[in-house]
């Protein structure tokens, strides 16, 4: 399986990449929503999962989610927001736009794996 990690912080991309790689995903990285969309256009196979920061330059995470949901080719992607935007209203906005799950920074590796397990993307108990 493939995962796309979208965050303007290289350090945060590394952390997320380490987690998904441990779960046997092949990970690709993008530094903002625009770069992620450009990469998706070039990729012959659409990743199953995208982990998306909200606050990024050029194109933020919410705009990325809206673009993905408007594109039939990308319909099957599971979208998880991974962000410091933790107000209820922001979570509702992201989910209404088409995100499947929401992880608030800071997160532990275990918490992230649990979320992905809830989405059926990793075997339950992968965290143990």
């Amino acid at each position: 399986m493939r995962a796309m990690v979208i965050d303007d912080s290289r350090a945060m991309r590394m952390i997320l990449k380490r987690i998904v790689t441990k779960l046997n995903f092949d990970a690709v990285e993008a530094g903002d929503g625009k770069e992620a969309l450009d990469l998706l256009t070039e990729m012959p196979e659409v990743p199953e999962l995208a982990l998306i920061d909200w606050n990024m330059p050029n194109m933020n995470g919410l705009e990325f989610v809206i673009h993905v949901r408007a594109d039939p080719r990308l319909r099957e992607m599971t979208l998880v927001m991974v962000t410091t935007e933790s107000e209820q209203s922001q979570i509702v906005r992201a989910l209404a736009a088409g995100a499947h799950e929401y992880v608030i920074k800071p997160f532990t590796e275990g918490a992230m794996i649990e979320k992905l397990a809830l989405l059926g993307l990793v075997p339950t108990g992968a965290n143990s």
Binding site: A11, M14, N55, T84, S89, K105
Partner: protein, 162 residues
């Protein structure tokens, strides 16, 4: 419109604790030891600005050694391998994470900027017309680290006269 800040030092300390638990000290071996010294020195700092229903800044400051160690923890590398770019990236992300969580505790209508990183002491920073309203100050493996909140004086005086 102005509103009184609803984030106190205990809240800030809890957020900082979560950052340490998640990224900087997941095994719980090297916590940030409080010094309560708001004048402790720093060599680098990062900040995010909050605007809207509350106006101010969240500032993360530390020694270069602590910043290097933080970057090493995030990037799973040795501190000696960390570049200036790595340090800047991690300093920015640390301000972003704590600032984002502070914003979440403020009344609706607050907006968070992208982080700014300066590889110079916090004392060189200028936040015009603001005052420090609280912070968490400590030593991480004997190196100074502080996270402080700065509030707009103009907004504060509006609150006081309301």
């Amino acid at each position: 419109m102005s509103v009184e800040v609803e984030v106190n030092e205990d809240d800030l300390a809890e957020m900082v604790g979560q950052v340490w638990e998640s990224y900087l000290d997941p095994e719980g071996i090297n916590p940030l030891i409080p010094t309560y010294d708001e004048n402790q020195p720093s060599e680098v700092h990062s900040s995010v600005s909050i605007s809207g229903s509350w106006t101010g800044h969240l500032v993360y400051a530390s020694s270069i050694s602590a910043a290097r160690r933080a970057a090493a923890a995030f990037l799973a590398m040795e501190p000696e391998e960390v570049s200036e770019d790595d340090m800047s990236d991690v300093l920015g992300e640390l301000a972003n994470i704590v600032g984002g969580n502070v914003k979440a505790m403020l009344p609706p209508g607050a907006f968070l900027s992208l982080p700014q990183v300066v590889l110079a002491p916090e004392s060189s920073a200028r936040y015009p017309n603001t005052e420090r309203i609280g912070g968490v100050y400590g030593l991480w493996e004997d190196e100074p680290v502080s996270i402080s909140m700065w509030h707009s004086r103009a907004e504060k005086s509006e609150e006081e006269s309301a």
